[in-house]
């Protein structure tokens, strides 16, 4: 599923000979063989916008989700491994960021930049979405820390960092992957929401922006369902697919979950 969209993202633009913002056809056309997803009130090709809009979704998922996971790992590892005061402190920080409704924060930050690109957006999301990853990873690290092979490494005088990355990290790779996947999906959702309320990127096209435009231009009342259904559906599909993939992995990694 995800792959399907990924492919669509890459080859999509080849299917269409239009540019997202160009007024290519008659206004407000329902889907037809020429305009696969119909056209907007200005006669822009929805399908074109759609395929171009997919790209930012993945970009943000990658960077935003990735960044969040990285920060989460850093803090999670250190807190989980070092324990004690360090843990107490980092834990507190995490809790604080966790409790602050980061989205509201994101809004304000977003509003702070008057001109925004997808990259910036992704980075902001990354910086606000890490806490629960940190929390989860910390817990994992905690349980691993006392394993004998870690003790062994510690006794053999390995540097903490080395231990973390040579002993601990590999042993929870599967887990990290899952965390990343979740963050990936999360980032896409947050981005879509931001875009939708008009605090997303001020240039380019994204699925969220498409919905934003559709609503702004009264697609609902003019019955132009082809304008607002595809973007949302795509997001739901992608993220949903990601989640399900995650369950798949989860079941592989802890057989307990497996259905019998």
């Amino acid at each position: 599923m995800v792959l399907f969209f990924l492919v669509l993202t890459i080859v999509g633009p080849m299917f269409t000979d239009f540019v997202p913002d160009d007024y290519v056809g008659p206004r407000a056309q329902p889907p037809s063989s020429e305009y696969w997803f119909g056209t907007t009130t200005f006669g822009q090709d929805v399908f074109t916008q759609f395929v171009y809009g997919l790209y930012p979704a993945f970009l943000i998922g990658m960077i935003g989700g990735g960044l969040a996971t990285l920060i989460g790992m850093l803090i999670g590892f250190i807190a989980g491994y070092r324990g004690g005061m360090v843990d107490e402190f980092l834990n507190m920080v995490t809790n604080i960021v966790l409790v602050i409704p980061t989205f509201a924060l994101l809004l304000i930050i977003a509003a702070y930049l008057t001109v925004r690109g997808f990259l910036v957006e992704a980075i902001f999301i990354g910086f606000t979405a890490w806490p629960w990853a940190a929390r989860a990873i910390r817990a994992q690290t905690f349980s691993l820390r006392s394993r004998d092979f870690v003790d062994l490494a510690r006794i053999s005088g390995m540097s903490p960092l080395k231990i973390i990355f040579t002993e601990i990290a590999p042993n929870m790779m599967s887990y990290l992957v899952m965390v990343f996947i979740l963050q990936f999906g999360g980032a896409i959702l947050i981005a879509a929401t931001l875009d939708f309320i008009g605090l997303g990127p001020t240039t380019g096209i994204s699925l969220g922006l498409m919905m934003n435009n559709a609503v702004l231009w009264g697609a609902l009342h003019l019955g132009m369902w082809w304008w607002f259904i595809p973007p949302g559906a795509a997001i739901a599909a992608i993220v949903g697919a990601l989640y399900i993939t995650n369950v798949g992995l989860d079941e592989v990694f802890n057989p307990k979950l497996r259905e019998m």
């Binding site: 509201a104 809004l107 702070y112 919905m211 009342h221 973007p231 949302g232 979950l257």
Partner: protein
Amino acid sequence: MKRYFTRKIFIYILTFFFAVTIDWLIPRFMPGNPVQNLLARASLRAEAANVMYGYFTRAFGLDVPIWQQYLNFWNALFHGDLGISVYLFPQPVIKIIMRAVPYDIFLLLPAILLSWIAGNKFGAFAARTKWLDNTVLPFGYILTATPYMWLGILLAWVFGLVLDIFPISGAYSYAMAPHFSWIFIWSALRHWFLPFASLFLVMFGGWAIGMRNMIIYELEADYSHYLEALGAPRKLVRKYAFRNAILPQITGLALQLGVIVAGALVTEIVFSYPGIGYLILAAIQNQDYFLIQGCFLFIIVGVLLANFAIDIIYVIVDPRTRIGMAGETA
């Protein structure tokens, strides 16, 4: 136990402090100048504009040095004074917010609680019930993956326009003033339903999934096996499993609050439901320092309180925390 709470409260206070500081800081980084925006709305002659610019800068206390503005902010805060809105000049921010809050309570409380309860019940039920597990849960995953606003738009479109059985904007009919009568309540309910539904559905999916997985973990736990080994009926085993599986879900609720706020925000925008979310967006678009601060502050307080409540509940239901050997919960 005591230590546990003192620790919690300390964290909360700290959080509050940080949040408030950020809250105060960020709007001041924002481009534009509220007083200018205010005056931009009034097309004034140059001289008049200049005169009034100075006048209002003073009126809004933006003429004193930054650090002093910060102190004043705290000071005012403790007097429950959040300043005056620029965009809703000259209303006091606190008043504006208070007008919006009931709508949020009305919308969020049921949505969160009901979806949580229903989701858990359903998830527990679905777990290890093959056909449900295979049919309904994928659906649940899609639900959680659905952007709030999109579901909102869809509902609005289907029920509001195509079927035309629910209104899609406002909190109650434009043909009434709020008053205590069944028609009003009915009208309020009808306006409330769609936003509620879209919030409810998305959250429901999440809780169901979470619970389902939790239950399965718990059913595989030693104590479950022991019960089975002693021939306890499925009912009892599940009862225990549910009881324990609910704990992480409670924590989850606390963790989710932030996300829920976001969801509520867009939902309110889709249905132009006059809650805080609706307000904060307008405030941001209008560069209204004081209103932004107010709303954000309010959300913080709300979330903190909710978290605290959840902590207390958690302690009540989970003896382990009560016995005091509890590490940290959400």
